[in-house]
């Protein structure tokens, strides 16, 4: 491969990975923090059958009534954890 070809290929490869939107990246980086709240919810569901039944029946409503404000992107994670 000639130097020119390598440079051309490098330029193409650099262009192939544009940055993801900053807000998306920061939201993903905050997962450990959010996960602690999910841990709390799951622990409470394990200790309280009524709360668990309410979560399984209507997750968003049960969370709201219990005073938890879980972001929508994390409700699927919580569903998976509750069903696991």
């Amino acid at each position: 491969m000639t130097d020119d070809t390598t440079i051309e290929r490098l330029a193409r490869l650099l262009r192939a990975l544009p940055p993801a939107p900053r807000g998306w990246v920061e939201a993903a980086q905050e997962l450990p923090l959010a996960s602690r709240e999910l841990d709390e919810i799951v622990a409470r569901a394990e200790a309280d059958a009524e709360f668990r039944a309410a979560l399984v029946s209507d997750l968003e409503v049960a969370l709201d009534q219990a005073g938890f404000h879980v972001e929508q992107r994390l409700t699927e994670v919580l569903r998976r954890r509750l069903s696991g």
């Binding site: 440079i7 262009r15 192939a16 990975l17 544009p18 993801a20 998306w24 997962l31 450990p32 994670v77």
Partner: protein, 183 residues
């Protein structure tokens, strides 16, 4: 740069800064598979992007070999995109859900990630100007204004920095060949 295996081990130990570094390192890669490989847009792309990292965070303890993080994330991203497409009510999907040429796209992105590893080894100034020009698509004028250098100098600096990057990349590839690492 911290090796992936160390990063994974620190994440498993609950080190939030390691997780932030892992997301930073792979955000472009996951994003590119979602939008270039599967051509997902807007909310679909954002939902899948978040779901990939949420699944990765949940399942990191199941990854046996931390050095296999990249292919593991690639597969996780592909599976999450497929799940998304299958669940979309607006389209009748039959048979193959993955777009044709996806393997080639992911292979290209693997190479692109190797170039980014090399980019991490060039000077901050070079990294900045190459990133601005090639991945942020900034014009000579915008770059010149941001870096306070004449527009005419921008092109020559980009060219010089590309040469530094080439040397780093070729050096890295010879190390990889010598170590037997598979790319």
């Amino acid at each position: 740069m911290t090796p992936d295996a160390d990063l994974v081990r620190r994440c498993r130990d609950g080190d939030a800064s390691a997780w932030a570094e892992l997301v930073e390192r792979y955000s472009r890669y996951v994003y590119a598979i979602v939008v270039q490989g599967f051509r997902l847009r807007d909310h679909d792309a954002e939902d899948v992007f978040q779901d990939v990292f949420a699944r990765a965070y949940e399942n990191l303890s199941r990854l046996r070999d931390g050095s296999a993080l990249r292919p593991w994330l690639a597969q996780l991203t592909r599976n999450t995109c497929v799940d998304r497409l299958r669940s979309a009510p607006r389209e009748e999907l039959t048979g193959q859900v993955e777009p044709p040429g996806l393997d080639d796209t992911v292979a290209l992105l693997d190479d692109a990630l190797a170039v980014r590893d090399a980019l991490a080894k060039v000077s901050d100034d070079c990294r900045d100007i190459l990133d601005r020009f090639f991945t942020r698509d900034e014009s000579y004028r915008t770059i010149g204004s941001a870096l306070e250098i004449p527009s005419g100098t921008v092109a020559s600096r980009i060219s010089r920095c590309l040469e530094y990057l080439r040397q780093e990349f070729l050096g890295r590839n010879s190390e990889v060949a010598a170590s037997g690492e598979v790319q």
